[in-house]
Symmetry: C2
Subunit: 217 residues, 2 copies
Amino acid sequence: MNPVITAFAQAPDGGRGFVRDMRVRWALEEVEQPCSVKLVSFAELKAPEHRARNPFGQIPTYEHGDLALFESGAIVLHIAEQYPGLLPAEPLARARAIGWMFAALNTIEPPVNEFGMARVLERDQPWFAARQPMLKERVATRLEELATRLGEAEWLDGAFSAGDLLMVTVLRRLTGSGLIEAHAGLAAYVARGEARPAFQRAFAAQRAVFEAQTATG
Amino acid sequence: MNPVITAFAQAPDGGRGFVRDMRVRWALEEVEQPCSVKLVSFAELKAPEHRARNPFGQIPTYEHGDLALFESGAIVLHIAEQYPGLLPAEPLARARAIGWMFAALNTIEPPVNEFGMARVLERDQPWFAARQPMLKERVATRLEELATRLGEAEWLDGAFSAGDLLMVTVLRRLTGSGLIEAHAGLAAYVARGEARPAFQRAFAAQRAVFEAQTATG
């Protein structure tokens, strides 16, 4: 039996692969493992059946045999531990790659997410414009630091790893904001991630869900 | 040689153990491993020597032999993989415990952190009061979901794990806000974490740094 992951029936990102199921789809494509995708509507997300999979009512989740997992980072790490291709075999390099997974999700993603959420949830508030420079600055500081560490390297620490996979998915959400575009090195890094055949296959799969939804309704 | 971790020379939390070095101290105490602590001033934090340890200029970092790691989550996971006591041996339970580590840092900590940061950075802004209910509601929703999942259990999934360790450190930061106190089960869960001898030893060690600093001025 293939693992079953969950994704949104109605992706709110216009099929741009910004939703967190993209991370799991991409990881599975990198290690050449198939999966089945169960689509969950916004109403189903907070219902008991899905809460049993994820107490916070979020996607993605991952079910394989007797294992039920949630949290995209944990799912990607689990996949990376099961199949070769996403973590170095050498123990110190492996620990550092996992370090970049946490950096992507705990140092870079929070300010990226706050910046994005304000644009969705607080756009009509009187303070929206006044807070934008601060929110942008928080992201810009992290990107400057990340660009400095990356330098001219292809990936964050040696070969492509699950750390790069998560980092690229986080950075992609800034597309069009000008923040990534301000760092040629980071823009090229994101483009390298997006050019990987596994990314392309994962992107096409999530895009197909969006297009089917648009076509039917 | 013991591992060397970094912590703030001047802890901004009044010695309450809210800074992220507490996670690493606690994890090392749980597995009964000693460490050396290098204190870093705010000025040193953003200087090249510390940036070489952590490109984002944050603490804690972890150096042991040839390994240099940053990100508190990655350091705790590394410790948990090296020594028994923080992750179950059974593979599915181990994967779920790691899932709770990511849930603590990627689902619970971001809204907790935003709530806390607004109180520090935006307290004097005209919109501060108007945004408080929204920021509180984001945290309250997650706590309600977490309390429901925890139910009457002692820990999040079987025995105490690195997932509980991280979750307790995240929840502790809400102490006194009324948000944890609204859920008797969560308050008891945090208290159980704080009552562990390893927590007590780690807390005393970080407290001693604060008290030495206060004494010397």
